[in-house]
Every structure is written in structure tokens, then in C-alpha cells.
């Protein structure tokens, strides 16, 4: 069961993703209303993925992603952001985000993100290259 933490002061903005994951049956969903609350949860529980809204009330999603690295860099993070992809890449470079999500992400984004998360978890857990 994958543990996903959704962070937004407005549950409605991530509700379509949440519904899609709830239907999938292999995701344990948690919610946090602020960045500070989410950082507290991430420091206590082994989370597989954090999805943040663009603004979290007490910080932006990108600021949160930076702070999350100090808590646990192994946790994957995706963030809603309205910036064009190139500008987002520049703004988020080095944070190692799993994906940029559009405002009000839907079912297809939930499915795509889950697929990418599983792929990366397999890569991280699995292959041990041969020494030559």
C-alpha cells in the first residue's frame, strides 16, 4: 500500500486526484492543511509521495519541497504549479520533483503520477549494476 500525503488548505483543489487514488485501492491517503503540518507528518511517517498545492497558506509548494529535503530527501514530491514547463524547471531545479501538476489535476494525472512513482520505486529498490 502506497502512502500519499496531499497538502492543500483547500481540499477541493486536489479532490479529483484523491478520488481516483481512493478508487484504485492500493493507496493510503492522508491530508494536511499547511506546509508545516505536512512536514510534521513527513518526519513521523514513511510517506511514498507528497502532492502539494501551489500555495499552502504558510509557504508555497516549491518552498515546501525544499524544506522536505531536510526532513527526508527519500520522499518523492509533486507540485501543482501554473508556470510554463521551462520556467517551472528553472524554479524547481535540484529539488528532484516527480512532476509538475496543473491547477485542479484530474484522474489522468493521478494515474500517470502513480505509474511514475511505482516505476521509480522499482528502480530505486531493484537494480544493482554489475561491477566490471
Amino acid at each position: 500500500m502506497l502512502k500519499i500525503l496531499l497538502v492543500s488548505p483547500d481540499k477541493g483543489s486536489l479532490s479529483e486526484m484523491a478520488s481516483a487514488w481512493a478508487e484504485s485501492g492500493d493507496v493510503d491517503l492522508m491530508w494536511a492543511k499547511s506546509g508545516k503540518m505536512a512536514l510534521g507528518i513527513a518526519s513521523d511517517i514513511a510517506i511514498d509521495l507528497v502532492v502539494t498545492d501551489e500555495r499552502l497558506g504558510d509557504m508555497t509548494g516549491l518552498e515546501f519541497a525544499g524544506k522536505l529535503l531536510a526532513v527526508n530527501p527519500m520522499i518523492n514530491c509533486a507540485s501543482v504549479n501554473h508556470l510554463p514547463p521551462e520556467a517551472f524547471h528553472e524554479a524547481s531545479e535540484g529539488l528532484g520533483l516527480l512532476a509538475q501538476l496543473p491547477v485542479h489535476p484530474g484522474k489522468e494525472h493521478a494515474e500517470g503520477l502513480l505509474q511514475r512513482l511505482k516505476y521509480i520505486k522499482n528502480l530505486t529498490a531493484g537494480v544493482k549494476g554489475d561491477i566490471t
Binding site: A70, P73, M74, G94, G96, R116, I131
Partner: protein
């Protein structure tokens, strides 16, 4: 360094006489240099895994699995740097030289600096040459 295993992100076949890769996540192979008594005892290579968006922790786990103690980079993002710190792998920095051998020799001699957080890629740090 008196003893330990050094990893160097490398292009093509790597090896002690090979060339470094500018950014660890996009390298072809990692050259692994085993040091004993302050001398190079063995040089091997391991292939890098495929690099995908968000997959920064894949090489961290790969090098941790291979008991690497130190990594020499010319560019790295904050997330993998924090991952290496968590894994107990020291990250050293040299952006100037392309050859593997002189930077390994400098690390063994204690002349190579650890990377600082203002030298990581992104956030307008400006020092990254790997992109």
C-alpha cells in the same frame, strides 16, 4: 583518505584514465576506486541506471549498495546531495578538471573540498555546469 571507495561519474567506459561526466545523474558509468593505505588498489566500473524525472535517489541507492564512501561531482542537485548525506556518502566538488585521475589523487591527498550547499544546481546558484 587512507581507505575507502571513491565513485566518480564518468562518460563512456570510465576507468582511472577516463573522463568525468559533468552531472552525476546523467553519467554513463560510475568509476569506483578502492583505496587502501592511501593508495589506489583497484578500479572498477558500474553502469548508471536510466535517469528519469524525479529519479534522483536511484544513483544514491546504487552507490550506497556498492559501499561507496565518497563521491566526486562537478554538479549535483540539492535532493540527491541530501540523499548522499543521509546515506553517509561524502560528496566532494571539482568543476574544473575533466580527467578522473587527478581529482582522485587530490581526494586521496586530502586536497579536494567537500561540496557546499551554495554550489548545488538550481536556485540560481550559477555554479552548475552539468546542464
Amino acid at each position: 583518505m587512507q581507505a575507502g571507495r571513491i565513485a566518480v561519474p564518468s562518460i563512456e567506459a570510465g576507468g582511472i584514465n577516463g573522463q568525468r561526466s559533468g552531472h552525476f545523474g546523467h553519467c554513463d558509468v560510475f568509476t569506483l576506486v578502492d583505496v587502501e593505505g592511501g593508495e589506489v588498489k583497484q578500479v572498477t566500473t558500474i553502469p548508471n541506471q536510466s535517469h528519469v524525472q524525479g529519479g534522483c535517489m536511484v544513483p544514491v541507492n546504487l552507490l550506497a549498495d556498492h559501499q561507496v564512501d565518497a563521491l566526486i561531482v562537478g554538479g549535483i542537485g540539492m535532493r540527491p546531495l541530501m540523499g548522499f548525506k543521509q546515506a553517509g556518502i561524502d560528496v566532494y566538488y571539482d568543476v574544473a578538471r575533466q580527467e578522473i585521475k587527478p581529482v582522485v589523487e587530490d581526494l586521496i591527498a586530502g586536497k579536494l573540498p567537500l561540496i557546499t550547499e551554495n554550489q548545488v544546481c538550481g536556485g540560481g546558484s550559477g555554479d552548475c555546469t552539468g546542464h
